[in-house]
């Protein structure tokens, strides 16, 4: 039996098409994936992200523990509420998971990790704690549910639905969170639009979903979440990178902090392996199909592969993220094998779309 979030019955009652996503029974769309996508780009949409796992790291050694565990450096987080995107690496510099780390107090950090990898992450963090002897509490917060509200009008809709979030949320900067009684309001997301991710006790999430719907926020499923994140040039764990991929080969060098002589897990392998691939966006130039994961890419430097591909509702064209040989550069034209055809695509720098604006030509 797949796991369900506390919003499962509401999704089914609104006619959602449900799919198994990493062992969770989740809505893929509520009628039209494309219309849900446009709602987020142009107005406001909401996603049930309660399958994602919140893990609190508590104790005096929390910061030091995470400076060892994460490839990005939580020492950069000096303002309470500030967030950081990071990879969790294994010893060979493969990506165990990608996550967001929030800093609230010197003895309290919060991680938000992927659903399908949550159990593996907890085991890995537990092992690192045992190896290091760090005196920290690793607390999975199964008592919290999460809704992501995204879009140009998302913030005002959230305040209309939840007046108690206006005070903590009004002046929140991007990639920053605040805690208000049992809620967390974070100005983060996975769509390339403004908005909030709201965590709250599971007992409150059904009423919260209804209040947001009443405020004019459109429910959106995992289908739209995928096209939105791809347009925003954001990686999906398990597709664009995994335990066999270094972050340097997945376009995530910017999340690896090597400035300090900090000994984090995977650093040695990362520095000795170096970068072996380019990771860029592709924009399909020819008609004849849709770019998809695992399609081969012929470049002047050799063969590459698409890791994520879809049809972009905002561009009206197919787009992809692809891992290609070193030396492939933005502006190159490559050939993608789509069924029995070779279709031309241009190498571009992601994101494709951000804050409603198209950034590639």
């Amino acid at each position: 039996m797949p796991k369900t979030t506390p919003l499962n019955a509401l999704h089914r009652a609104s006619g959602a098409r449900m799919v198994d996503f990493g062992g969770w029974d989740m809505p893929v769309h509520y009628g039209s994936q494309v219309e849900e996508h446009h709602a987020v780009r142009r107005d406001a949409g909401m996603f049930d992200v309660s399958h994602m796992r919140i893990v609190d790291i508590e104790g005096a050694g929390a910061g030091a523990f995470l400076r060892t565990a994460l490839a990005n450096d939580v020492a950069r987080l000096t303002q309470p509420g500030k967030a950081l995107y990071s990879c969790l690496l294994n010893e060979s510099a493969g990506v165990v998971d990608d996550l967001i780390a929030y800093y609230f107090r010197a003895d309290w950090y919060r991680l938000v990790v992927n659903a399908a990898t949550a159990a593996k992450d907890l085991a890995w963090l537990g092992k690192l704690r045992a190896d290091s002897g760090a005196a920290v509490l690793i607390a999975p917060r199964d008592d919290l549910a999460m809704i992501a509200v995204q879009g140009p009008n998302a913030r005002e809709r959230v305040f209309a639905a939840f007046p108690h979030l206006l005070a903590p949320g009004r002046d929140l900067k991007a990639f920053t969170a605040a805690v208000e009684s049992e809620w967390m309001i974070a100005r983060t997301g996975y769509t390339g639009e403004d908005g909030f991710e709201l965590a709250m006790p599971t007992a409150l999430v059904q009423d919260a979903w209804k209040a947001l719907a009443a405020a004019g926020v459109r429910p959106a499923g995992l289908g739209a979440r995928d096209t939105l994140r791809l347009e925003a040039g954001m990686n999906l764990y398990g597709q664009d990178m995994d335990e066999g991929t270094s972050p340097l080969d997945a376009g995530l060098a910017w999340t690896v902090d090597l400035r300090q002589p900090r000994d984090f897990v995977g650093r040695q392998a990362l520095e000795s392996r170096g970068q072996s691939s380019e990771f860029f966006g592709l924009l399909l130039l020819d008609a004849g199909g849709v770019l998809r994961a695992h399609q081969k890419v012929a470049t002047s430097r050799g063969e590459g592969e698409i890791t994520s591909g879809t049809f972009s509702p905002t561009l009206g064209k197919s787009i992809a993220l692809a891992r290609m040989p070193r030396g492939v550069a933005v502006g190159d034209t490559v050939q993608v094998f789509v069924r029995d055809k070779q279709l031309a695509a241009r190498v571009v720098k992601a994101p494709f779309v951000r804050h409603g604006k198209i950034l590639v030509e």
Binding site: V28, H29, S32, Q33, G223, V290, R292, P313, R339
Partner: protein, 125 residues
């Protein structure tokens, strides 16, 4: 399930309509378009192509997946619906109106051997 009674159906979710001139039109069922979601690309076969029953002769791609379209009977393709190349969303809007290609069956009795609406409804549910 929305199923015109006068049509024939395949297990791979094509519908088949007799056109009265010895040819049949073929599209995908409303159930199929609903499963696929928003359709963004349709490729139809060229007129003149000889096809075998069950041969993959077209493609429908939605935002989330690609799906082959199969010849329901052996015969010769007499037309592909080029309009779907520029307006693939018509398949979502009216699956039983959005024909993809027309075939002149090699053996007209092959059409009668396909499933009727009742049998298709059972096979698809």
């Amino acid at each position: 399930m929305k199923l015109p009674q006068e049509l024939r159906y395949t297990e791979s979710h094509e519908w088949v309509r007799r056109e009265g001139d010895g040819t049949v039109s073929v599209g995908i069922t409303d159930h199929a378009q609903e499963q696929l979601g928003d359709i963004v690309f349709v490729e139809t076969p060229q007129a003149g192509r000889k096809v075998a029953r069950g041969e993959s002769i077209g493609v429908v791609e939605s935002v989330k997946a690609a799906s082959d379209i199969y010849a329901p009977v052996a015969g010769e393709v007499v037309a592909g619906n080029a309009e779907l190349g520029t307006s693939p969303e018509k398949v979502n809007e009216d699956a039983f109106g959005a024909w993809m290609f027309r075939i002149r069956p090699a053996n007209p009795a092959d059409v009668d051997a396909l499933m009727d609406a009742t049998a298709y409804e059972k096979s698809a549910s």
